[in-house]
């Protein structure tokens, strides 16, 4: 196990506990629109605007549904060291990353 994946695993565990401790909160409507715009436009530069994949994998409900949710939240929040997936924690809270994963799993609104 490389140093990167150890760090990643620690991040995973820490998010899992935080995620479990906090009740799910939804961002308000304006913030939701901002987050959806961020995903389509800025995540879209690597994952495709329609999220069918690009340099990064597809983020469609079918491609994500069998993956552990906390792992996806951690990937967004902390990034994946050693890959081009960057950390987004400067731009959203963990609760917002969780909300985004929910949206991705349900199919992102337009």
């Amino acid at each position: 196990m490389s140093a990167n994946s150890v760090i990643f695993a620690v991040f995973l565990m820490s998010t899992a506990t935080i995620a479990a401790a906090q009740p799910p909160v939804s961002p308000d409507a304006a913030r939701q629109r901002e987050l959806v715009h961020l995903v389509r436009q800025d995540c879209g530069s690597c994952h495709g605007m329609t999220l069918q994949g690009g340099l990064g994998p597809a983020l469609l409900p079918n491609s994500l549904k069998d993956k552990p949710q906390e792992g996806l939240v951690a990937t967004i929040y902390f990034g994946r060291p050693g890959t081009p997936m960057p950390p987004w924690k400067q731009f959203m809270s963990e609760a917002e990353a969780e909300w985004l994963v929910q949206q991705l799993l349900n199919g992102l609104p337009q």
Partner: protein, 387 residues
């Protein structure tokens, strides 16, 4: 009487000719990524003259031109390849060539259009006239393992160079016989993310994401293999996060120096193209995405990745530093110079506008409405190697 006759003659001539004849040298197209449209533009009048829809998913779309500058070939993200007649402003032909594409190139002789694909990874060659599939080269770098292809660039003799993100190699495919391409492989380095060919077509460079440095292959003597330049430009320093991958195509050589985006640092790297050694670094206001020289090489314009993508920095190559810091709009995704560089067109995605600047005094001299504009491609690309 004479005057009436010549008036009648003029009428008849006009009727025969149909639309007035014109060249295409000052035309171009703007990708409207959100809704699958392209807007055709005239850089002399600085106005749009047509809008064409139905092109599918155009995020990350790019275009190349036929050698006469009449037809554009637009490569869509969803694998769509669309041939557009710039004069009649209509789609001539459209095929879906793969599931997930990332761009393409046109051969030296203009007869072959090649698309580069993420899934299934590889390149495909099409007849530029009919868009009939001629051949394909799957990027199978190990048995059963396919790589995403990046950085496809045309080279002399109908050869195409490209890099394999997952395979860590540079490949050169020779389409002298378009139905039977012959491919050579060269180890390059970890995770090449994009590539470019120098304006003379001699060197293919692949930027590496997985390590500091750039892999370089001399296409005049490929048997020498790829070597690494700009190795360790980060010198083990912590990299900054990269929220959008830099683009190398459309890069810049000016005054014997190449200007390249650093990755994971907010700098433009300056390289002497005689020795391929780093000769300087210019600090800029974000992770550079495009680093493009004005055609005369006097200025280099730089745009940036999220969250700094409202900025544009202009480097004066004589001064060797940034001389103009602008904030022209929201989400500046791309820049394109008019053929001789007196204007630059910037796409401001979140302002839904294309902004036109005078490069001599940095004044805005016009704008056009466009929905989420991204790439801007002028027909002058038809005559440039690597565009």
């Amino acid at each position: 009487m004479h005057r009436i006759l010549s008036f009648l003659l003029a009428l008849v001539l006009a009727a025969c000719a149909g639309a007035p004849q014109r060249g295409t040298g000052d035309l171009g197209l703007v990708i409207e990524r959100a809704n699958g449209h392209v807007t055709l533009v005239d850089t002399t009048s600085r106005q749009p003259y047509a809008r064409i829809g139905g092109l599918g998913d155009l995020s990350h779309a790019s275009a190349v031109y036929s050698r006469d500058g009449r037809y554009a070939f637009v490569f869509g993200r969803d694998g769509g390849l669309t041939k557009i007649d710039m004069l009649e402003a209509k789609v001539v032909k459209r095929v879906i060539q793969s599931g997930n594409a990332i761009g393409g190139s046109i051969s030296q002789d203009g007869r072959i259009v090649v698309a580069q694909n993420y899934t299934p990874g590889g390149i495909k060659a099409f007849d530029a006239e009919t868009l009939e599939l001629l051949s394909e080269v799957p990027a199978e770098f190990a048995p059963g393992q396919f790589s995403k292809v990046v950085g496809l660039a045309d080279s002399s003799g109908n050869r195409f160079a490209y890099a394999l993100f997952d395979g860590g190699e540079i490949w050169v495919s020779d389409f002298s016989d378009p139905r039977r391409p012959v491919t050579q492989r060269f180890p390059a380095g970890r995770q090449p993310y994009d590539g470019l060919v120098t304006p003379d077509g001699r060197y293919f460079l692949a930027g590496l994401f997985g390590e500091d440095g750039v892999a370089m292959l001399d296409l005049w003597q490929p048997e020498k293999g790829a070597r690494k330049i700009l190795e360790n430009y980060g010198r083990g320093q912590e990299k900054l996060p990269v929220f959008k991958m830099p683009h190398l195509r459309g890069w810049s050589v000016a005054q014997g120096k190449a200007y390249l985006p650093a990755i994971g640092r907010h700098e433009v790297l300056v390289v002497d193209v005689a020795t391929w050694k780093e000769v300087g670094r210019i600090p800029v206001r974000g992770q550079p995405v495009f680093v493009m020289a004005r055609p005369d090489g006097r200025q280099v314009w730089v745009n940036f990745a999220f969250p700094d993508n409202a900025n544009v920095d202009v480097i004066d190559t004589l001064a060797g530093q940034v001389v103009q810091r602008m904030t022209p709009g929201k989400g500046i995704l791309h820049m394109e110079f008019t053929p001789r560089g007196e204007q630059v067109w910037l796409s401001a995605r979140d302002d839904h506008k294309v902004l036109i600047y005078d490069t001599a005094n940095f004044q805005r001299i016009g704008e056009i409405a466009a929905e989420s504009p991204s790439g801007i491609f002028f027909t002058t690309r038809a005559a440039r190697i690597g565009f």
